[in-house]
Point group: C2
Chain length 190, copies 2
């Protein structure tokens, strides 16, 4: 059945991109892994890049769903950041792809990957920005520029998750979520 084949392809591509990155994933490989002929892939996806987009956008959808599942509007903003972050960090499969893509961008500079990371970044920031605007409207947080603040929130997250462990022992999910909550809650005042 057509739907089954499509699912097989998406699954195979997802695994392959996560394991080998974009460049090192070949269409022949994906076809073999999915157990279909190479041509079949092209009945569902215009080209490799569109297949990649499918994988990434479903990842983003999943991440959004995960976040929504734990956010409770009546809780303090910082608490929700903590909950969403912690939940997200527990999904190692999400991370596997992100790690691979970040690595590939750094050491090979693959254009399609750079563009996709850029896209992921702007999606996440846009999401944060909306949450933040709502919180400001409710008077729950001070009215800083939400564009800049969500940008910074995202960069802090990336720094803690991906940069910190270049020179230190990795931080646990709990620790990361805790740090961001503490900083956001009180800043460094008093």
């Amino acid at each position: 059945m057509a739907t089954d084949r499509r699912k097989m392809i998406v699954e195979a591509a997802g695994k392959s991109f996560s394991m080998f990155g974009y460049k090192a994933t070949t269409m022949d490989q994906v076809a073999k892994l999915a157990g279909v002929g190479k041509g079949t892939i092209y009945t569902f996806f215009k080209n490799k890049e569109e297949l990649f987009e499918e994988i990434v956008s479903s990842l983003l959808k999943e991440m959004k769903a995960e976040a929504e599942a734990v956010i409770q509007p009546e809780l303090p903003f910082a608490e929700n950041v903590h909950r969403a972050l912690y939940r997200l960090l527990e999904f190692r499969s999400h991370h596997q792809l992100m790690i691979k893509l970040i690595q590939e961008e750094k050491e090979m500079g693959t254009l399609a990957v750079s563009e996709m990371l850029q896209h992921i970044e702007s999606e996440i920031i846009a999401y944060l920005k909306e949450k933040m605007k709502a919180a400001i409207a409710k008077g729950a947080i001070p009215a800083f520029d939400p564009e800049i603040t969500s940008f910074l929130l995202f960069k802090m997250y990336i720094a803690l998750v991906f940069d910190w462990e270049k020179n230190h022992e990795p931080l646990s999910s709990e620790r990361i979520a805790e740090i961001m909550k503490a900083l956001l809650l009180k800043g460094l005042s008093q």
Copy 2:
């Protein structure tokens, strides 16, 4: 006179590294620009990498001096961050070299440059960490882990100065300093 020659070399190298980066700066070029024979460079510096180190460490020294000049221990911590940051940001010459190095690391991955950026990062973070420890000891800021906090402070700074302008209009020095001060002062609470 020997001192004069050395100064000429350092000046020439500084300009060249800032304009062309590490890789694209040749020793012949530096010699010509400094108006000395190439061999003369090697009477002052063991090799290209040591010349590079001289440039960078004098940059770091300057930056430290600039910061010290405006920091006033009796002011609030966030206010001092604001002052130091603003002062630093006004020195475009410092930045020219940093910009070039960050760019070179990204698009050519020159090893010597990566190592140097790593070194610069750890120097700045160590400096921040000391300041932070002192502030904690005085009870001026909460006792978060200074290693992590100074790491985050640095990453925020880099994000605002170098990453923000990839997709937005650059922020003014005043704005950047203001944002960091506001966030550090109050966080996103209330």
